[in-house]
Homo-oligomer: 204 residues x 2
């Protein structure tokens, strides 16, 4: 029992190490350009060892995407009990601020989301669903703010949700190219603030 638990724990740890190494390599050379052999070398294991844990490069990509989503979801869970939507909107600003600390992962998602517009790309369905879900989350927060009487006149939640998500993506591209020219969190805060009649909360 102790041995089995130990084996399970060490297998899980090994998987986490592989996902970390794959995130770094995908970020640096792009998903399509990374080979299974390079991914294995980056994780310090054999090609066979990597394929034992993840059956294919696609499966490893899926694990990389899922880990980021799990991390980001944990940030938004804090906003779950939020009846006015303001905590969730403030979490967008926090997310932009956190993203500024992980340029490689931001670059990976920017490349992948564009590559994945090809319906044959293994992450196509993932990104289609991810954007629908993200836009819908922001739309619900804006709708709640509207129900609480906190939205500025003529703000349409569905349209603005799409625009805020687009703004975050587009600012990332400008920031990746010229980090010194763009303060992503500050820009998002100001744009979201313009939609509201009350100050956006600060801090997590």
């Amino acid at each position: 029992m102790g041995t089995r638990d130990g084996g399970y724990a060490s297998g899980r740890l090994r998987r986490e190490q592989i996902v970390t190494a794959a995130t770094e390599l995908f970020s640096r050379v792009g998903y399509r350009h990374a080979t299974v052999l390079e991914l294995a070398q980056a994780a310090g294991i054999s090609r066979t060892g990597l394929l034992h844990h993840f059956g294919s490069k696609e499966a490893l990509l899926e694990a990389v995407l899922q880990r980021r989503d799990a991390e980001d979801a944990a940030r938004f869970d804090l906003a779950a009990g939020d009846q006015t939507g303001l905590t969730a909107l403030a979490a967008l600003v926090e997310l932009a601020s956190y993203n500024a600390s992980r340029p490689q992962l931001v670059a990976l998602f920017a490349v992948l989301s564009a590559e994945a517009s090809d319906p044959d790309h293994p992450a196509h369905d993932y990104f289609v669903q991810r954007y629908r879900r993200t836009v819908d989350t922001v739309r619900r927060s804006l709708t709640r703010a509207g129900e609480a009487g906190l939205l500025a006149p003529r703000v349409e939640p569905t349209r603005q949700a799409r625009a805020i998500v687009a703004l975050m993506d587009g600012l990332q591209v400008q920031w990746l190219l010229s980090p010194g020219d763009v303060d992503m969190a500050d820009e998002i805060r100001r744009q979201v603030q313009q939609l509201l009649t009350v100050p956006l909360p600060t801090g997590p």
Copy 2:
């Protein structure tokens, strides 16, 4: 002389054909993934023939980027004599509308601009300069609109120029993934309109 002119003209035509084929291939498989041999095959010539016209894959990429910029610059030249900035702002809406007719090129630029955040990427400097120039063009148009008294209260040209460019990029990603969910031109028109106190002109 006639022969030399004919040779020059056919060489130029051949270069244009290669750039067209390269644009299509880069759009489909990405810049990094396309090989010189595949680019030659797509253009219907030999590898040696391609390298005679373009010395390297980087040189061919540069030609692809320059052609798009030349096409887009021609659209904005119409707005050069525009003292209020409104014609140039309306041209952004037209550009979004035109982009909806060329998803492959839009996808290519989305992938490349993200890949190029790596300082070692051959298009890094190109994209850094391109964004600075684009944001500056929009900023000047907004500033002119402000001088003509046509800007809504509290609109800051520099900040909003960056936001509009970001919005266009981010909407492209959402549109590439789910074309039926997003009307890029309509979204840009509404967002730009919110910055103005007069109706944005329609049509070119």
